[in-house]
Amino acid sequence: MTQHPVNGPDGPTAVPRLRMRGIVKRFPGTVASDGTELTVLPGEVHCLLGQNGAGKSTLMKILAGSYQPDEGEILLDGEPVRLSGPQAGMAAGIAVIYQELDLVPDQTVAQNLLLGRAPAAGPFVRDRRRRELARAAIERVGGTFPVTATVRDLPIAAQQLTAIARALTADARVIVMDEPSATLGEADLEAVFAVIRSLTAEGRSVIYISHRMDEVMEIGDRATVLRDGRTVGVFDIARTSKEELVAAMIGDSTELVHPADRPAPTGEPLLEIDHVRFPGLLDVSGISVRPGEIVGLAGLGGAGRTTLLRALFGDARGDVAVRLAGRPVRLSGPAAAVRAGFALVPESRKEQGLLLGLSVGRNAAVAALGRPPWLLPRRTGARRAAPVLAGLGVRHASAGQPVGELSGGNQQKVVLAKWITRGGLRVLLLDEPTRGLDVGAKADLFREVRRLADSGVAVLLASSELTELTANADTVWVLHEGRNVGRFDPRTTPENTIAHTVITGVTP
């Protein structure tokens, strides 16, 4: 247990804004919270850290009033409170902004902000008054978009600000942000950070949940680390290193945080991107990947990484000129790309990667069935997928287990297994493959990706986390506003240099 002396903004003796003491929450077959402790001071950004399944979400659901704890107590400004439901949580001044934004996409910003509490005269909504209220709320979080815009049409960052603004219209004392950065690029994140700083300056407390250590180091005042439902440490972030936090999160397990270096692959390029052009959106040229090479694609949100990967997978209409082993390939659609040996691990594994209702075995085999005699797909599929699933170390009860029951890391491995089972893999395209995964699962996934690369596959890896790219890629290309602006060797280039290019688009 590492306990640094705490110096919150109001000094060490201030009454904590929030205290959760000895929280226990049991679910059938598991204890999600096992005597968890959390103390949040007024006006601080308190980061809640832990691997997936450490009990962060459960704790926050208890705080929001969605779950009732089996044991333990909650004190707000020293007063014990009972949060019997989400309404009670809101009334007590606790606002939770979930990762999946719970906005109504087809309504306007103003309608969303005052959903259920629209100003009215009798049965009629006072629309102008509603717009004024909404505008004030959006201005408070620094938004500059019109409140008459439909939420669906707004960029993610603006949607995030809308969600924050909505949480704030109630007079919130504690604001919980669950991985706000999961869908944001770095520039957008700055806008959210600015809002967080202004909130804490007003004396409100923010509980910030994130897997990205860089953000935690930047925005956090203190951090509580959870592991297996218990509080394993409270840290003063200014005096703590990233490594210490990560070590506390993963505990005694010896998962790699920094993977071993390996020699850069040489040889003729396997994949050559002569050019990929979408007018006004993307203009990328001259990227090549050798067999065994992992090429990282860095960039801000909207820089075109996803579009590039989808174009390479035949899933976006545009001017695409690509050569595979020197020969031009026509990528008329995903099916053609798959036949040519391309494989995509898409951005959203639940919506694009997996057949969520079907079993692990059927998911792992589904891409491998397109060959004669087209009979007994479940038996042949299970036979071919079993060694792949075992080789990847997918933790599952049986091949018949629904894939939706697996943890995020294991689900992502099943997506990978789908392509390995198919065979004939030549180019692997990974789009944010570690989104939402914990540290151990990330290391595990990259170990498998490197193993595939070592077997001669060309890998293109898009990620928003630069550290992930520099740690795993042989070459890093930076995309900026649809163009590939710089190529770096992470072995010789400091991460800051690449980060600078990511944000500015200028190479040193």
Partner: protein, 337 residues
């Protein structure tokens, strides 16, 4: 989510970490056999309430009455498994029945006439499914358009008059004949069910049907021929509808352009009652098979008890709702396990 991952983190080995899947399969079995149990219970009740229920004559009648809807419901099951819906089955069936009657009337060999009729049904299905798959139109709309347009075409064939009259004996056997006590349409219904089950379970095409229904986008990004699969299930549904039309023409010895009004609703009701998920990916044809029989036993029982058809409609609706609630409850328990 949290519960799942904590268990994962807690269990050190790779071995089975909890009883989830076993129980899930158990729940699946309960869902499926539940319907069967309800069906058997209903049969017992029926035989107690109405002694004439268990007579071979009544049983044969029952099978004959349910077979045509059943054949259509099997095709509907495949469409719904891909998360589609086919509202045009009634019109396609009527069209199929008229075509076969007209062609036989024009002295075409009846085997050939049947094949032409089935091909028409398949073509209509492929057209509507293809429009839906390739132009991303909702199947609900393309088949709703089909429902109207194909019914209109059916009327246009004879200006709304029934067709046929001089129908060969052999052809009449198809819809009205018996092998022993078993009606031939019943045998065809069973055969279609078994064949569909084999296609779904034992061919790559069947696996693709489930994949497309479970997550169309993921199936597409796995390189599966999603649009072809969707077009194909609609073609199958169209062909099976036409088959039902052919069998009706054979039984009545004339083609009725007004036949099969509202068939789509009966078929969808049977599919849903049979446990197939309206949003695709889960279910199968055996559930549909039992559900079709269950619904017609219910109707049969009402008839034997002398309850009017208005009453029957109310009971059918209530049974549907009850079955849906039961299925959901069991599924929820399975999901939580």
């Amino acid at each position: 989510m949290t519960a799942t991952t904590s268990v994962d983190a807690a269990a050190p080995g790779r071995g089975p970490s909890r009883p989830g899947p076993g129980r899930r399969r158990g729940a699946d079995l309960i869902v499926r056999s539940n319907l069967l149990l309800v069906f058997l219970a209903l049969c017992v009740v029926a035989s107690l309430l109405a002694p004439e229920f268990l007579t071979t004559r009544n049983m044969a009648n029952l099978l004959q009455q349910s077979a045509l809807t059943g054949i259509v419901a099997i095709g509907m099951t495949m469409v719904i498994l891909t998360a589609g819906i086919d509202l045009s089955v009634g019109s396609t069936a009527a069209f199929g029945g008229m075509v076969v009657a007209l062609l036989i009337d024009r002295d075409m060999n009846f085997v050939l006439a049947i094949l032409v009729s089935l091909a028409c049904g398949a073509a209509f299905g492929a057209l509507m499914g293809g429009l839906s798959a390739y132009l991303s139109l909702p199947a609900f709309m393309t088949t709703l358009a089909g429902l109207t347009a194909i019914r209109g075409l059916t009327y246009l064939l004879t200006d709304g008059e029934p067709a046929g009259g001089d129908i060969p004996e052999v052809f009449q056997l198809l819809g009205g004949g018996f092998v022993g006590y078993v009606p031939i349409v019943g045998i065809i219904f069973v055969a279609v069910t078994v064949l569909a089950a084999l296609v779904l379970r034992c061919t790559t095409f069947g696996e693709y049907v489930y994949a497309v229904g479970s997550n169309r986008e993921a199936a597409r990004l796995s390189g599966l021929p999603v649009r072809a699969v969707i077009t194909a299930v609609f073609a199958i549904s169209g062909a099976l509808s036409a088959l039902a039309g052919v069998l009706l023409t054979s039984r009545l010895t004339i083609g009725q352009p007004t036949a099969f009004n509202g068939l789509e609703l009966d078929a969808i009701a049977a599919v849903v009652l049979g446990g197939t998920n309206l949003f695709g990916g889960r279910g199968g044809v055996f559930g549909t098979f039992v559900a079709v029989l269950l619904l017609s036993v219910l109707r049969n029982l009402c008839n034997l008890l002398g309850l009017g058809s208005f009453f029957q409609m109310v009971v059918t609706g209530l049974i549907l709702v009850a079955a849906l609630i039961l299925n959901m409850a069991i599924e929820k328990r399975g999901a939580r396990a």
